[in-house]
Point group: C2
Chain length 199, copies 2
């Protein structure tokens, strides 16, 4: 039996899976650190935000908040929060036409009636990871590219973006058309991270 699925469900619309193209996106996504000098169209940014909107989250808490940074002066202030050495995305923060700052609302995901419900405490990092990959894959499907930057002075960057109390800035994500796409870093084989029935 199939339930009520609305007009957009892949369960209902298709007989054939669209796996080949979907896997092209998953496998073709790269962390890109050089961008073309070309704006991100408003329609593309809207599609990316629309995709994030549909990300799942703990009890549908939707704990993400997104700051879209286009202002060059602010991008330069964010860059100053990165270590100049040791972060290969240092240049990209200013060079990319857009930097998406991914923030999370605290004390909602993983909570029930203001009490933590699991040993992991605030679950927002997990939900932001979900939102992050939704964003990166959608960008890739549009021919855009991203790189997820997590290594920076979070307090300094959150002050630049005026992130309010009760929220955290977690990742800065340069977004634009890729100028240089590196080959993929190697990955473990499936058998190296998969276990049957017990670990």
């Amino acid at each position: 039996m199939r339930g009520d699925v609305g007009g957009t469900s892949p369960f209902f619309l298709r007989e054939e899976p669209i796996m080949a193209e979907f896997m092209d996106i998953v496998r073709g996504r790269r962390s890109v650190r050089k961008y073309e000098d070309r704006e991100v169209p408003a329609e593309a940014l809207s599609a990316i935000l629309e995709a994030v909107r549909w990300a799942p989250s703990w009890a549908n808490t939707q704990c993400w908040e997104i700051v879209v940074v286009r202002d060059r002066a602010i991008k330069e202030q964010l860059q100053a929060a990165l270590p100049p050495k040791g972060n290969p995305a240092y240049g990209a923060i200013v060079q990319a036409p857009v930097v998406v700052a991914l923030c999370g609302r605290l004390r909602s995901s993983g909570y029930y009636k203001d009490q933590v419900t699991t040993k992991f405490g605030d679950w927002f990092m997990f939900d932001l990871g979900i939102a992050c990959q939704t964003l990166c894959l959608t960008a890739c499907a549009l021919g855009l590219a991203t790189v997820v930057v997590g290594l920076f002075d979070h307090e300094k960057a959150r002050a630049v973006l005026r992130v309010p109390q009760g929220h955290e800035l977690v990742a800065l994500i340069p977004l634009g058309y890729p100028a240089k796409i590196s080959s993929a870093p190697s990955r473990r084989e499936i058998t190296e991270f998969t276990h049957q029935d017990t670990f």
Copy 2:
């Protein structure tokens, strides 16, 4: 200029974006709690694990470990780690043909030379979120469904799966063909979570 991208990059293969179908998957994914009595084909599971393999992670640490549970007795033991009330996925843990247990290796993501590098400490929850959404979207593209279960006694469940020291079990994800697909819970509008240049 376009770099070396290999045979699978969407940047290279396509002139036209494949956004319509991709967005169908993102928007059509639902948390499903009733499954058909039908096995998950080995090829489908392989494709899902292959997709996870290509998820990005902190400095390519690939901190995920996955336990594929098909054994009914083990699923029943996992179910006993869930609160019988208050978790709508209680039945799904046993009813779904497969439960994917998503685990993380500690002290790698977010670390450099065995030292934490950000205020968030161990970054594995973020990376597992990325892996989780990669898994759920790929399942959806295959016509399969999932639900992410995070509310359970993690110590009890990790003992069932014999998850070793230095790792954490984070989420249990029933996987199978959907028998009943609920309508989507409401979402905030883009304007409600998006900010320009500063929060």
